[in-house]
């Protein structure tokens, strides 16, 4: 298809960078503060996920602006984009998408390293803490803004002794766009 005008490809706006260690240490102190505020580990997990959700609903617009991808046609494409473009852009890690369920609605994102949890050791009394829950919230929030309702949970966590970080993504619903105004207004 011919395009009018001499514009051609525009440069993507430059992404601001932050020192990875500053990021890791800031996240660690957030988690520490949450634990001392709430004292109940389940509540901390929920708060981390909620924080991630709030971030995700805004982050998706920034991702769409910087990455310039067109519409993903299926959940499979979406998972690939998240793993191969979004995660490297924001966290500088690549994830692999594995373990697809037979009906293509569930998959696993496997990360071999996670900048959020560098230098972290989880003591025994916090075994129930899902340290990286904020990432699950971000993915859920971001996909919700493109009308895909997903459920994200961590199934493997290196901080608890497993050999990789595995995030299970389950597509609950791919919603159609709703007409937001009532007919009788």
């Amino acid at each position: 298809m011919l395009r009018s005008g001499p514009t051609g490809a525009r440069n993507a706006p430059a992404l601001e960078q932050i020192n990875a260690e500053v990021f890791t240490l800031t996240y660690g102190s957030i988690v520490r503060q949450l634990i001392s505020d709430y004292e109940d580990i389940e509540e901390v997990n929920k708060q981390l996920e909620q924080m991630g959700y709030n971030m995700g609903i805004r982050l998706v617009d920034e991702f769409l602006a910087k990455a310039k991808i067109s519409r993903c046609s299926s959940f499979r494409d979406t998972a690939d984009v998240v793993a191969k473009q979004a995660l490297p852009m924001f966290l500088n890690v690549t994830a692999n998408v594995t373990n697809w369920s037979p009906d293509q609605t569930e998959c696993s994102l496997v990360l071999t390293d996670n900048p959020l949890a560098d230098f972290v050791e989880l003591p025994d009394e916090y075994r129930e803490l899902r340290y990286c829950n904020v990432l699950a919230g971000v993915v859920r929030g971001a996909l919700e803004m493109v009308n895909m309702e997903v459920e994200c949970r961590w199934v493997s966590d290196m901080l608890r002794g497993d050999d990789c970080y595995e995030l299970r993504l389950k597509l609950k619903e791919h919603r159609d766009e709703k007409f937001p105004y009532k007919d009788d207004d």
């Binding site: 005008g5 706006p13 617009d61 769409l64 602006a65 910087k66 067109s70 803004m145 937001p180």
Partner: protein
């Protein structure tokens, strides 16, 4: 205005001559499914439109002789909407917003592109 854009979008997706699985007119559509429309021109004005995968729609009404403004709208979204609105902590996605920085950046950008002779009306609807 939303109804107009909504219906036009549905109509375009249904009319797509290349898509093997196009939706029927009137059935609900996912965001971005099927082909989209970019602009329409009437006697008095030209309406340019861009829809982003996250559902944000940008509408820019210009004079009739304006060229294809898809790139302008795309860079409007990238550089101005994302910078000044999405990154604003008081912005709730899906809610109306007012931001003076956004308006200033918008006016400066449009003026730079030679599009601002009188005040243009710009609406962003999610």
């Amino acid at each position: 205005m939303f109804g107009l854009i909504w219906t036009l979008g549905n109509f375009c997706a249904t009319l797509d001559p290349k898509d093997p699985s196009k939706p029927q007119l009137g059935t609900p559509r996912k965001i971005g499914q099927g082909c989209k429309f970019r602009s329409f021109t009437t006697n008095n004005y030209k309406c340019n439109f861009l829809e982003v995968p996250s559902g944000i729609k940008l509408v820019l009404n210009t004079h009739r002789e304006a060229p294809d403004l898809s790139d302008v709208l795309q860079s409007l979204y990238d550089d101005i909407f994302v910078e000044y609105v999405v990154k604003n902590p008081t912005y709730n996605p899906g809610q109306p917003f007012t931001s003076e920085q956004f308006m200033n950046a918008l006016n400066a950008f449009l003026r730079q592109n030679g599009l601002l002779q009188q005040q243009q009306i710009m609406q962003a609807a999610a």
